[in-house]
């Protein structure tokens, strides 16, 4: 297996493929407190988020995604990672995730990474070298930001 194939497999980590095929956090909530939507008009991808809050904590979070494997898995792993976090923590994870997708150049990023662990979301790191696909992984986070734009942190 040469390095390029290795990288390919890294980009499409088994976890990504599995979550894209069989998401664990897909669906809608009966009574979401906030909702958000992300759309990429360039390819028609779309994520809808339903979030139930308990005070400042995310009690439940579900997504409905139509998109590529990267986008679908990102939505599912995001939901998994954020359940139970506060809104503030969730937005910190969002920042950290964005930083993951650009070259790890500034030490500020490294520092932050000690504070907010990304967990399974780290599988998206190889996207760095696939600029054109980065927005696929970002789409659920766009929806998240929209959902929280109505909540004061």
């Amino acid at each position: 297996m040469n390095s390029s194939t290795a990288e390919r497999d890294a980009l499409y980590d088994r976890l990504i493929v599995e979550r894209a095929r069989k998401p664990l956090h897909a669906g809608r909530l009966d009574a979401p407190d906030v909702q958000g939507e992300g759309r990429n008009p360039l390819c028609g991808d779309k994520t809808h988020l339903d979030i139930a809050l308990n005070g400042h904590h995310i009690q439940d979070i579900r997504h409905q995604t139509r998109g590529c494997a990267i986008c679908s898995a990102a939505a599912d792993l995001m939901a998994e990672r954020l359940r139970g976090e506060t809104v503030t923590q969730a937005l910190q994870v969002a920042d950290r995730f964005k930083a993951l997708l650009v070259e790890p150049s500034s030490s500020a990023v490294v520092e932050k990474s000690h504070q907010v662990p990304l967990g399974a979301l780290e599988v998206f790191a190889p996207l760095r070298s696939h600029k054109a696909r980065i927005r696929c992984a970002e789409l659920p986070w766009v929806a998240l930001e929209e959902a929280f734009s109505h909540v004061d942190g």
Partner: protein, 417 residues
């Protein structure tokens, strides 16, 4: 200029290896794999003849053109105007003055929407089809919103052909001033029945523009045989440079149309009060044109003509047939469209694998295809899709590359299912 009509059996056998040797980029590796370039419909690669023509112009014979009284300027002007003759021959245009150089097909269509659009009256309509590239849709929307021109959309059949009955019906009330339709779809590969489209349009009192961006690459174009009124194409898909495109239009139309851009070279006299316009085609070529790119376009046309459209068309037909057959064997793969006549473009989708994922995974194997809406969003909506994967073939494409594509698609699908 090479003849376009060499028809010996030998001429229609294309020596793909000899051709590939003229495209330096094809020796490149991508992710350690040999480049398999199946994205020529987006933009074709360039042969040495084109690259060298541009470099040599800049190395040995360059100056700004028109009205320069020195040798470099006179020779450059002659060479530039010589390409106009070449293009006229390439399209079989009745006259060299009918050839207007633009940046690309998009600008050519915008020019018509602006300058011919100015001759249309509110209440008149422009008729396009459901399979147009944004380049042949958005300029007409802008004209509609600016000038109160109605925009009509002729439907396509499920196979991806223009629905000729519906097309006729759209022309029936005589309000359509211009039909603007692609000569070949960049998504479905459909080659439209242009002369029939023109005949029907003319019978209804409408003029007709063909977007030839894809079509000119694959077969010999003859604007007189098609009975077209406007025809556009773009250099970079014809193995030529970026930054250069062509509008052909009938002389009487160009003469009637007001200019598009103002500036140097397009005027006859200028006072602060008033300017008068130069003769066609100069009226439509404001400012310093893409001189070097025009030379490159000339080289591309000479090169393609030397290869010969009989050989090119035969080669691409064989490739396309092979691709349709091989892709049909890939589990879960669906070819999009089944038009009566097809150029070297095949769109497809795969069950359970999004086109973006297909493209990225193919790329990891050195295979370049395009995925997305291909600048034809409304067509995607008509097809009930948000994106397709698209492989497109050129003069340098090898059968074996299509085999690699099909085999890799099988592996990708396995990976996802």
């Amino acid at each position: 200029m090479a003849t376009h009509t060499a028809k010996s059996p030998a001429a229609s056998q294309l020596d793909v290896q000899a051709i590939r040797a003229q495209f330096p980029i094809l020796a490149e590796k991508v992710h350690d794999r040999p480049l398999v370039f199946l994205d020529s419909a987006a933009s074709a690669q360039k042969p040495n003849a084109v690259i060298d023509s541009m470099a040599n112009t800049m190395r040995h014979q360059y100056a700004n053109i028109h009205r320069g009284l020195h040798w470099m300027s006179e020779r450059t002007t002659e060479a530039y105007e010589g390409v106009r003759d070449l293009v006229a021959g390439f399209l079989n245009a009745p006259s060299r003055e009918e050839i207007v150089f633009t940046r690309n097909s998009t600008e050519a269509i915008n020019l018509v929407a602006h300058s011919f659009g100015a001759l249309l009256r509110p209440g008149q309509a422009v008729l396009i089809s459901q399979m147009e590239h944004h380049a042949n849709l958005v300029p007409w929307q802008m004209l509609r919103d600016r000038a109160g021109i109605e925009l009509r959309i002729a439907p396509i059949t499920d196979d991806g052909d223009l629905d000729m009955e519906a097309y006729k019906a759209f022309l029936a009330d005589g309000k359509v001033g211009l039909v603007a339709i692609t000569h070949m779809s960049n998504v479905l590969g459909t080659i439209t029945p242009a002369s029939q489209i023109a005949e029907v349009a003319h019978a209804a009192g409408a003029l007709v523009l063909f977007d030839g961006s894809q079509a000119v690459v694959h077969h010999k174009t003859d604007v007189q045989a098609l009975d077209a009124d406007f025809y556009t194409f773009t250099g970079h898909k014809l193995y030529g440079p970026t930054g250069i495109g062509v509008l052909w239009a009938r002389r009487a139309l160009l003469e009637q149309m007001p200019p598009f851009l103002g500036g140097g070279d397009m005027i006859s006299t200028v006072t602060f009060e008033r300017s008068t316009w130069a003769n066609i085609p100069h009226k439509f070529e404001a400012g310093t044109p893409a001189i070097v790119e025009t030379m490159g376009l000339g080289a591309a046309i000479e090169w393609v003509s030397q290869v010969g459209f009989d050989a090119i068309a035969a080669h691409e037909a064989a490739l396309t047939a092979h691709a349709l057959q091989r892709l049909a064997t890939v589990p879960g793969l669906k070819i999009v469209g089944n038009p009566r006549m097809r150029g070297g473009v095949v769109s497809f989708t795969m069950e359970d694998v999004h086109p973006h994922d297909i493209a990225t995974l193919l790329d990891r194997n050195g295979i370049a295809i395009r995925a997305g809406h291909h600048c034809a969003e409304p067509l995607m909506r008509r097809l009930g899709l948000s994106a397709t994967a698209r492989a497109s073939f050129g003069i340098y494409t090898q059968k074996e590359e299509i085999d690699v594509l099909a085999d890799t698609l099988v592996r990708i699908r396995d990976f996802f299912v």
